[in-house]
Amino acid sequence: MSGDRALDLPIAEASRLLEKGDISARELVDAALDRIAETDHSIHAFLHVDAQTARAAADRVDRARTITNREPRPPLLGFPYGLKDNISIRGMPLTCGSRILEGYTPPYDATAVTRLREAGAIAIGKTNLDEFAMGSSTEFSAYGPTRNPRDITRVPGGSSGGSGAAVAAGQVPFALGSDTGGSVRLPASFCGVVGLKPTYGRISRYGLAAYGSSLDQIGPLARTVDDCAAVYRAIAGLDPFDSTTLEDPVNPGDEDPDDLRGLRIGLPIEYFDRGIAPGVGAAIRACVDRLAGLGAEVEEVSLPHTRFALAAYYVIAPAEASANLARYDGVKYGLSRRECSDVVEMVASTRALGFGPEVKRRIMLGTFALSSGYYDAYYGRAQRVREFVRRDFSHVFERVDVLATPTCPTVAFRLGERLDDPYAMYLADVLTVTVNCAGVPALVVPCGESEGLPVGLQLIGPHLGENTLFRVGRATERVARR
């Protein structure tokens, strides 16, 4: 079998071919590089590709395989992947989609990158994103937008749009993204791939450029739920470099996806009455009906504070961003304005030159919300809402095992359609931000189409409920194919 055909196989299947010697890691990496060369001029998923290093890593894998048969075999041995360009890897530039980091190459690896290397995976390049992960369409990248492989007149979702598009275009079997308010799940839904926002603290944030630190999580995007789970299990777990990581063990899950008897699925009524496009709502309900056909019990539930969550999110995330992005001052690394008369002018003019419009907007919004006289009215109330949202989820997970919702009210919208209206862009996140506010996990799985474009089912689980999500996600894949 050729590397090109093997690149489209599920990871477990291609892994068996690698193990038998039917294909080599070099063939897989070359196939990925060829795909990128063939397709990326129209999609622009990648900001940086390091072919030489990736080929050298693949050759090392192939040489080692012929010398020894390592047991246990690393689960992702020989597989190329892309990573969102807000995640650090030594030797590749880190731009965060921003001009302010021009010329910066991190001297260290993110923990997720270290763990993928230990699992045998090969980083092939950095994927495009909205600047500092602030956006829902990947149009706010300083290096130009990414386009949706399903229809290049449409956005791929954001902010991990490069990762979603790269997987959807078959350039790589999986990619890493990050999710602060929906940034893994929107691209997964818009591009028709699988994406996971793990429980807060499940995956180390060490080496991830901070945006909203109490909300940020790295998450994998892949073609199948099993592939997504394999990547998640390779990178999840306690990390001494991130004090928010959880100690709980990462367990394998192997329950039968064809039998959902005993599983209780909740449909939150608030997620179906917020301007959901009819085709999207219909695809979600049809899929849930089929899951019920596998034995799941389905009931309507209520998360009453959902309507406040978007407002709370767009206070809390910008507030944290305004503090986190204060580090970009033109002194230590990246862009720096010269010939300024004083330090304040140098810092302020560097930041004005280096940050794009959406980042400036969020820094301003966050600074305003935290400033004297406004703090209680905005940040204080937003934190209160966050707690109410968290309690809503706690209560509902006493009754059901998993929630099923649309990921976004619409399918992928057209490039440029929402660029002039910030709040219209924020509305794309209305069904995803609650999950980050509560810190619970959510998995997006393609479940159908509307207007000829993919619709993603969002499955939300309780704290550390990833294995339940994978089980229902695999069932979703099966019923969606029937």
Binding site: S243, L246, V331, D342, E345, G373, A377
Partner: protein, 106 residues
Amino acid sequence: MTTDETRAGEAGAISRDVVSHVALLARLALSAEELDLMAKDLSTILRHVAVLSEVGGADDTIPSVGREARMAEDSPVPGLQVDQVAAMAPRFLEGQFLIPSVLEDA
């Protein structure tokens, strides 16, 4: 900020003067055009955010950080070397970052 400005902010509108002050706090040198656009955009966003004022609840609902902070093991690990820092810095001399003078006649 004045009481009037506070009320204006709570109502969801934000004046150009307030935007200008916030830009100073945020260390963003915005152009006159950007200040006008920012006042318009932030006012639009804050009008939507005003829904937060409908939420009641006592102060005990403000969340804690979460789990108790865990102490890191007290063992030395290699840190960044000066030459690595120097390679990243826009201006660096004799182990120090260079910035414009902060003292007159320095």
